[in-house]
Symmetry: C2
Subunit: 211 residues, 2 copies
DNA sequence: AGCTTTAGACCTACCGGTCAGTCTTATATT
DNA sequence: AATATAAGACTGACCGGTAGGTCTAAAGCT
């Protein structure tokens, strides 16, 4: 009875799964969803196509397994930043550095994330789209919390916190795009550094005094 | 060979071309390049598939006809802003309003532009990609010119003008994304207005004094 | 033996692009 | 005006390639 209590029957299963996921990440991020083929992903992982279908039941499911992981990671970062002690500026500095760290650690990860946003949401099944939407909403919510604190502390002007969140997110995403398109011309670390430096100046000037 | 009996030029050619292009814009912008089919575009325009191939020799060529038009329009706007008389703030205000105007006038246009950026450039023929790249470079160049002026006038801190261009572009694109994903939650006109208001405050504060 | 895992041939649907043929219309001729 | 003619405009069946997904036989493990 106690034979396989709570244990995986196949200890290789996890290993295989991550092997497939790594391969999928590489292929999806370089070719995009439509151009990537299941055949190629399977071969990249060193298996046959049939095996890939033994682990995931469709291309879409495999894709969203990656997307989900990514959004969880990002949401975790923003949430952690929000829960930290310290000023909004401290939180944002920490968050900015963590994001840069995350992106440099896995550029494919970042590339896929970016393609996903533009990828035709119309083409995916509703339940996946909805799930994704929830992640984005939550992320914005956490960010908004930090921004609100920042308004009180004079880092941001006293504008609508939601709009400021969108603008800040836009800034980060915009820089991300530049970096992905040509990392020679635009260094994300430097860009993020400049943005944070600007924020520090804003606090010195006291942005909350702005009408 | 007989001279020119029954010679017939097509007075409807322009009309047809624009009909096809409008249809293509609708289909491409809602489904993305890969999911869109030539059949659907042709039917949407009210013709058979073969006719579409009478006007364009491939799907890719049709797609880039749209992309080209779009980039020309955007580049024209930025160039015109740069050549205007007045302060950098004036130029940016004018440009911001024109961009909002352009986007509201044709949301599909905007949607396609956004999808294009993320679309797998690896999948298109090199000559098209190169052409596109030139448009983007030129646009950045013009924008940088305005930013440089802005630094002198105290609208921006004395940072690297190229990086500031990327950040400003990122801001606009980021807001554009928010708006496209949910125009109920995020009003682009309001977002752009807030951004411009912030710029005005920056000038009052004298951003060039920032270390 | 019996269960899990793997492989890749096979099936099927789809889509870009072609082409042989039809319809339409401007112009020349009568 | 009526007719003839040639080229332009248009069509949709068809072809070839491709790729998601299935099936099943073989191999491995307990």
């Amino acid at each position: 009875m106690a034979k396989t209590l709570g244990l995986r029957k196949n200890p290789l299963k996890d290993e295989r799964e991550t092997a497939f996921k790594r391969a999928a990440l590489r292929v999806f991020s370089s070719k995009g969803y439509h151009k990537a083929t299941m055949q190629e992903i399977a071969l990249e992982a060193g298996f046959g196509k049939g095996t890939l279908y033994w682990y995931w039941k469709s291309k879409e499911e495999l894709y969203f397994a990656l997307i989900r992981e990514m959004h969880e990671e990002f949401l975790r970062l923003v949430g952690e930043a929000s829960k930290r002690n310290g000023s909004a500026l401290d939180k944002l500095t920490w968050l900015g550095e963590e994001i840069v760290e995350l992106y440099y650690r896995d550029r494919d990860f970042c590339k896929l994330s970016w393609k996903m946003r533009a990828e035709e949401l119309e083409t995916f099944s509703p339940q996946y789209v909805e799930e994704l939407y929830k992640y984005i909403q939550q992320t914005k919510q956490e960010l908004k919390r930090i921004i609100s604190q920042g308004i009180e502390e004079g880092v941001f002007p006293p504008f609508d916190a939601y709009y400021l969140s969108c603008m800040l997110l836009g800034l980060v995403e915009g820089m991300e795009i530049q970096w992905l398109e040509d990392s020679q011309a635009f260094d994300l670390r430097k860009g993020m550094g400049l943005a944070l430096e600007m924020l520090k100046s804003f606090q010195k000037l006291g942005m909350n005094k702005i009408v």
